[in-house]
């Protein structure tokens, strides 16, 4: 299956001389094609840096990141990022935001419109096509962000705390919507969050990172029966156990943070 991410011996250093700080140190990790992986870690552990390295926005200091065996060099349309602060183009309407990637890859107008409409409908934004981002609520903006990224059909979705700024009910609704999208489209998803429950609820595997410099601490496989409702899942014993395991591992890291 396509959309495999291979990270080997990744290192990222910011600055030079006395300002030099190591954000990520010796991180090796593989994401299978079509897999949903969450990355959690204490704040400042470089999890967003990791995502932007995979996206190709930042250059690695050493080590490689490969997509389907091909080392990446810069951003590419095989990967799509959903930003925490949405990063929509404010001068474009919802519809124009969603067609942007298709315009850039030279898709003919008619096809652009059909594809954009398909993804706008998928995130339940039909009727809002002609609105500008300033007219939308945070949740709607993030759905535009998701539709915009899905529209040019990248194999890999990289999500940087996409629901972090939203309130609980809205966050849950979008989480469920994301799971449906993942089921339907079979994308590889790398999902950054600091919310343990969110990570366990959404993903097949959770990568827990150490505090500064960030590297792999533990990887927890989440093997939940997801056939039931949200309530069934989050109240199950298995869910509680996974949540505890991830929380404990993460808590060890935040403890060191406090003592320092």
């Amino acid at each position: 299956m396509d959309g495999r991410v291979t990270i080997s011996e990744l290192e990222k250093v910011y600055g030079e001389g006395p300002e030099r700080t190591k954000a990520i140190d010796d991180l090796s990790f593989d994401v299978e094609g079509g897999e949903f992986v969450s990355v959690v870690g204490p704040s400042g552990c470089g999890k967003s840096t990791l995502l932007y390295l995979i996206a190709g926005f930042l250059d690695t200091t050493s080590g490689t990141i490969a997509v389907d065996g091909e080392p990446i060099s810069g951003p590419g349309t095989d990967r799509g990022v959903v930003f925490q602060d949405y990063a929509l183009f404010p001068w474009r309407t919802v519809f124009e935001n969603v067609t942007y990637g298709l315009e850039e890859s030279g898709v003919p107008k008619e096809e652009r419109q059909t594809t954009a409409q398909k993804y706008i409908d998928l995130v339940d934004l039909d009727g809002f096509e002609d609105k500008y981002p300033k007219e939308l609520s945070g949740g709607m903006k993030q759905r535009v962000g998701i539709a915009r990224t899905l529209a040019y059909e990248p194999k890999i979705l990289l999500m940087d705390e996409p629901f972090g700024a939203l309130d609980q009910p809205l966050r849950e609704a979008l989480q469920d919507q994301l799971i449906d999208i993942w089921d339907d489209l079979g994308k590889t998803i790398v999902f950054i969050t600091h919310d343990v429950e969110e990570a366990v609820y959404l993903s097949e595997r959770v990568l827990i990172m150490t505090r500064h410099p960030g590297t792999k601490k533990t990887v927890t496989e989440i093997d939940l029966d997801r056939s039931g409702s949200r309530e069934d899942i989050v109240t199950s014993d298995a869910f509680a156990q996974y949540k505890n395991a991830v929380w404990k591992s993460l808590h060890e890291e935040t403890q060191t943070e406090v003592t320092l």
């Binding site: 951003p75 930003f83 990063a87 990248p154």
Partner: protein, 261 residues
């Protein structure tokens, strides 16, 4: 901004009352002005009654002098501003995007922006004479700075996330400027025009006062020299209307171009 909304409604009395209420302090000042003049509390030469000024304004308009001079002032200010806008936007945007251009222009802008440009009028008279060209160049030089600085700052402030978002969707570095940087920086660029516009009128007006060659500034100073103070005030009112008109015009353009903000 809501001036446009006013125009769409019909003319009804309640609206007139509203307008009256919003400017009634101005009305009081104008009535006091007329009274002070009529009662000769202040010598006619310093402050003629408002009615005399209005009569003189109408006289100058009917004789064609007002329009001719207003046109000259407007022409010099707008041509100068247009030149400054083109160069200011190019230099400002490139400074924000290119280290070499920034290295070159940053010290020039740091020195040039705070210079009280009007102090250079004598130099411009020496170099370029007192004709239209000299005035237009002066306006262009004087208004270049706010346009360039606003264009540079707003370009620098374009969020990295927007650029990244475009890059991940396949926008090449070359197209990034047109597709993302310019639209994102447009509000700040237009703010630069709005700051530069009154400056262009000030520079033109002062240059005309000092160097003559027609224009509202020359009309005003001619009034002073010939002891016709009504003409002095008539010229001031004319340039005031031009200033308000241009400001309204720019606001309208802004609201049209930036309806998404």
């Amino acid at each position: 901004m809501d001036v446009n909304a006013d125009a769409t409604d019909g003319f009804d009395t309640s609206r007139l009352v509203d307008i009256g209420k919003s400017i009634y302090s101005l009305v009081i000042v104008l009535v006091l002005w007329e009274l002070v003049g009529q009662l000769e509390l202040i010598h006619y030469y310093f402050l003629p009654p408002l009615s005399d000024i209005i009569l003189r304004f109408i006289e100058l308009t009917l004789s064609g002098q007002m329009l001719e001079n207003a046109f000259l002032t407007l022409y010099r200010a707008l041509v100068g501003l247009a030149i400054a806008s083109v160069f200011g936007v190019i230099v400002g945007v490139l400074s924000a995007r290119n280290d070499f251009v920034d290295w070159f222009f940053d010290p020039i802008i740091k020195i040039g922006y705070p210079v009280p440009i009007i102090s250079l009028i004598p130099v411009f008279m020496l170099w370029f004479g007192i004709g239209d060209i000299s005035k237009i160049i002066m306006v262009a030089v004087g208004t270049f700075w706010p346009v360039a600085v606003n264009a540079r700052d707003s370009t620098q402030q374009v969020q990295t996330n927007l650029l990244w978002a475009a890059q991940m969707m396949g926008t090449s570095d070359r197209r990034l400027l047109r597709r993302v940087v310019l639209p994102a920086a447009l509000p700040g660029i237009i703010t630069g025009f709005q700051i530069a516009m009154p400056l262009s009128l000030i520079i033109t007006f002062v240059f005309e006062m000092v160097a003559g060659g027609g224009g509202l500034g020359a009309l005003e100073i001619q009034g002073v020299r010939s002891f016709q103070s009504a003409q002095v005030y008539a010229a001031i009112i004319a340039v005031m209307f031009i200033g308000i008109g241009l400001d309204r015009g720019l606001r309208f353009i802004r609201s049209r171009l930036l309806h998404w903000t």
